[in-house]
Every structure is written in C-alpha cells, then in structure tokens.
C-alpha cells in the first residue's frame, strides 16, 4: 500500500485535462507553506499557464489559468526558489514574471530582449538571477531589483544554433545551456558581472551528444547532471568540479562524461529529470517514460545506472516534459503533445 514490497510499477494516478493544445512544460512549486499540498504549473501551445492543486477529495483541479498576457505559445515555466514568483517563457519573445498574492496571480514584469522565441527560463538558487534562452542563440541573465525591475546582467553568445534549455546549478552560480548545435555549455562569472563560457561539452572532445540536446537536470547535490538528446541517448556527467573558480595552473579541470544510456528510447528524448532521491525519469517522442536508478558501486569506475522500468504508451503522443515532485519523491508529472498532464506514482520495492 505504501510502496513496500511488490513489483515495481509506475501507476497513473491522475489525468489533468484543460489545455487546448499541446502541453509543453511543467514546474512544481518548490517551497510551499507548512502542511500545504503540492502545486503544479503547466504551460502550452494554447498560450496559457495552468495551476493545479489537489482538491480535498484527493482529485486534482485547475485553480488558476494565467492567460491574456502571452500572445503565442508558452514554452516553459519556472518557480523562483521561494515559490512566490513564476517565470513563463514564450514564443512571443518575452518572459513574464507572475506573483501570487491575495489568492491571485498577477503579471508583475515582462522581460523583453530576445529577438525571437524564448525557450526556457531558470532561477538561480540564490533567487536573484534569472536566465532565459532563445532561438536567437543567446542566453540572457537578468537580476531582479526592488520593485519588480529586472536588469540585464549579461548576454551570453557562443551557441551557434537555437538554445533549448538553461538550468542553474542547484548550489553554485553556474549556468548550463543546451542547444540544437549539439553542445552543452557551462557559464560562470568572474565575480565582476563578466560572464564567460568556461566549458563546452562536445561530441568530439567530451563524449558528448551527436544531435540536438533538449534538456538538462542536476541531481540534488549538484555533483551530477543528466542531459538528453535527439540522438536517443541520456548522458550522465560528473559535475563536481567548481568551474566558477579560476584556474591558475595549467590543466584546467573539466566536467567529465560518466555514462551514456542508450537503447531505451527509440525516438528523441525531450526531457529528463533527476529526483531528490536517486531516480532519473526520461520522456521521449516514443510516448514512453523510462525510470533509471543510480547505483552506488564499490567499483573504481563510479556509479552506474540501471533501468527500473519503461512505461510504454504513457501518453498518446510525444512527451515533452517529466518532473518529479519535490515534496513527494515518488510522484512524477508528465506533459505531452496530446494536451494532457498526467500524475504518476512509483510503487514497489526497488532493490538497490
């Protein structure tokens, strides 16, 4: 009943309908009040953002629809670490900032600067920096000022194609971006608002991806990250080196490839997310969700990754986003081109 024993399964618990077009992305509010139940935001091609909460009877309901702000697809959403602000990135080239106050969501700022479709937004752990990326190949870093003003700190140019996603390290002020140009770039500043690309992970030099990289997710400690790609693989990287520290010596240490998980999905893997535990979820164009677990190994080579299960036909169409619930590490949400958001529960005993 509570996950002890029994076969491992990913059981669908709820199906959230409401979006009138494909559901692109999801974000769980990371910081709820004491005793509050989880809050999920979803966004999509219908230009809206929907907020979902658990109802007293255990079902889930859409409590808010954020609309009439973006005039094109909302591609991605992200909560600030304190859970009070929601950033929404849109194909209309703007990023909107919403504040939840007095039971209502209000758009308190609109960030303009990108030349075309904004693909992703991410808040730094400190909460004061917001990164956005776009088809214009650039990554912008904004800093929040008093009064809901946002200043542009830097414009990072380096990718040669559409940038699909940006994600801050969970602890350090280090930013990772992934792109249609097949590379993963790591950015850090020198302490003086001067941001540089401190590492590029490529196919040729770092066992990187051979096609578009769609998503990136750090584990909770920040010493590992997973990326997924159009090349149908997931790659795990050792990110324990603090790349924001300047190297005075010769050999500049780098983040290393640890493992490539291949053969699990037959189509582009659009999303991967690392739970606060040891689970990695992936969602792909083959309509399936795969779950992997990191196994600590006593062998010198380090951890390995094992498939726990593959949920075929999790949705009727491409899965665009998978996200573990921060408050309940066995609950997973998925969003799909079929317009639905599904909630799943991982049940059973996973032997380490």
């Amino acid at each position: 009943m509570d996950g002890r024993g029994g076969a491992v399964e990913l059981r669908e618990t709820h199906r959230l309908t409401g979006h009138a077009d494909r559901a692109w992305a999801l974000a769980w509010n990371p910081n709820l009040g004491a005793g509050a139940s989880p809050v999920l935001a979803s966004c999509g091609g219908d230009k809206t953002v929907r907020i979902w909460k658990r109802a007293p009877d255990g079902g889930w309901q859409c409590t808010d629809v954020l609309e009439d702000t973006h005039n094109r697809t909302v591609r991605s959403c992200a909560w600030s670490p304190d859970g009070k602000l929601l950033a929404t990135a849109s194909f209309d080239a703007t990023t909107a900032i919403w504040e939840y106050s007095g039971g209502d969501f209000e758009c308190v700022a609109t960030l303009e600067g990108h030349e075309n479709e904004v693909k992703s937004a991410s808040w730094s752990q400190s909460g004061s920096l917001l990164a956005t990326c776009s088809r214009d190949k650039a990554v912008w870093i904004w800093e929040m000022q008093p009064g809901n003003e946002y200043e542009c700190v830097a414009v990072l140019q380096g990718h040669t194609q559409d940038v699909k996603m940006v994600q801050w390290h969970p602890i350090l002020d280090i930013l990772v971006s992934v792109s249609y140009d097949n590379t993963i770039k790591v950015w850090a500043d020198d302490g003086n608002d001067e941001w540089h690309c401190v590492q590029t992970l490529t196919e040729a030099d770092n066992c990187g991806h051979s096609s578009t990289v769609w998503s990136i997710s750090f584990n909770q400690k920040g010493n590992r990250m997973v990326t997924c790609s159009d090349d149908c693989t997931l790659k795990i990287w050792d990110t324990s080196i603090d790349l924001s520290q300047p190297e005075t010596g010769e050999g500049h240490e780098s983040w290393q490839h640890v493992s490539t998980l291949t053969g699990y999905h037959g189509r582009t893997i659009f999303s991967a997310h690392w739970s606060s535990g040891d689970f990695i979820a992936s969602g792909a164009g083959d309509d399936a969700i795969c779950l992997f677990v990191e196994e600590k190994s006593s062998m010198v080579e380090g951890p390995s990754y094992r498939l726990i299960l593959k949920k075929e036909k999790a949705h009727d169409m491409d899965i665009n986003s998978v996200r573990w619930c921060p408050q309940d590490p066995r609950v997973l949400a998925s969003a799909s081109d079929d317009g639905t958001v599904k909630l799943w529960e991982l049940r059973g005993n996973i032997l380490a």
Partner: protein, 141 residues
C-alpha cells in the same frame, strides 16, 4: 639573302598589328568610360551607406546624450550596472572608425553596439528601437 636595312620601316607592320591597335583603342575608351560611371556609382553607394551608418550611430549617440543629461541632473537616475553599460556604449561609439569604411571589423563593431544598446533598453524596460536597421535573424522555424 640581303640584310634588311635596320632603319627601314616594315610597311606591313600596321596591317599586321591592326587588331591589336583597335583592341588598345577600345580598351582605352572603355576604361575611361568605366572610370567616370564607376566614380558616380561609388559616390551614390558611399553616400547611401554613409548616411545609414551615420544615422544609426547618431541615434545611439542621441540617446546617450539624453541619458548623460539625466545623470547630470540626478546621479542616481540609473543603477550602477546600467551606467556602466552606458559608458561601454559610449566607448564603442567613439571607437567606431568613421573615416575608415574599409576596416573589415566595422560589421562586428556595429553588432556589438546594437547589442549593448539592446541590453540597456532591456534593463530600462523601454521599447525604443532604432527603426532603420534590418532585423537580424530571418531563419527557418
């Protein structure tokens, strides 16, 4: 058999070199014509491009002048970071080689100026844009 006297004119020479003479005449006529029309075309193109560059740089400089005036009235009109960006824009503008149009870095310098201007605009939350310039990315989707 007999040696030709050296200072005898070869009466056949003009006939034999006739086509060469005509070629040279034609070349000279063409070259002179081209020189005149090329100068005129070049003048037109130079005027046009020079005007476009001047207008765009003048626009940014005008904005800077207004911002500098605002700062003189109120030192805290803008945050330290925005002021720094404005100073960087001023430096980029004054480094632009107006008298050296063939400097092959002018394209890149103009891109840097445009980007710096957009960063300041974004930080001020203003929607002002220089209308004359072409939009950059016209890509497939």
């Amino acid at each position: 058999m007999d040696q030709q006297p050296k200072d005898d004119i070869d009466i056949f020479e003009p006939t034999v070199t006739l086509d060469q003479t005509h070629y040279q005449d034609g070349y000279k006529n063409g070259y002179d014509d081209g020189l005149v029309s090329g100068k005129e075309d070049g003048r037109q193109v130079g005027l046009k491009v020079g005007f476009q560059v001047g207008e765009e740089l003048g626009f940014y400089k005008g904005c800077l002048d207004v911002w500098m005036s605002a700062i003189r009235l109120d030192q805290d009109a803008f945050s330290a970071r925005v002021r720094k960006n404005m100073e960087q824009l001023a430096a980029l503008l004054s480094n632009y080689p107006l008298s050296d149009p063939e400097n092959n870095q002018v394209q890149e310098m103009m891109q840097n100026i445009r980007m710096k201007f957009r960063v300041i605009m974004a930080s001020l939350g203003a929607k002002l844009d220089y209308e004359g310039r072409p939009t950059s990315s016209k890509e497939d989707f």
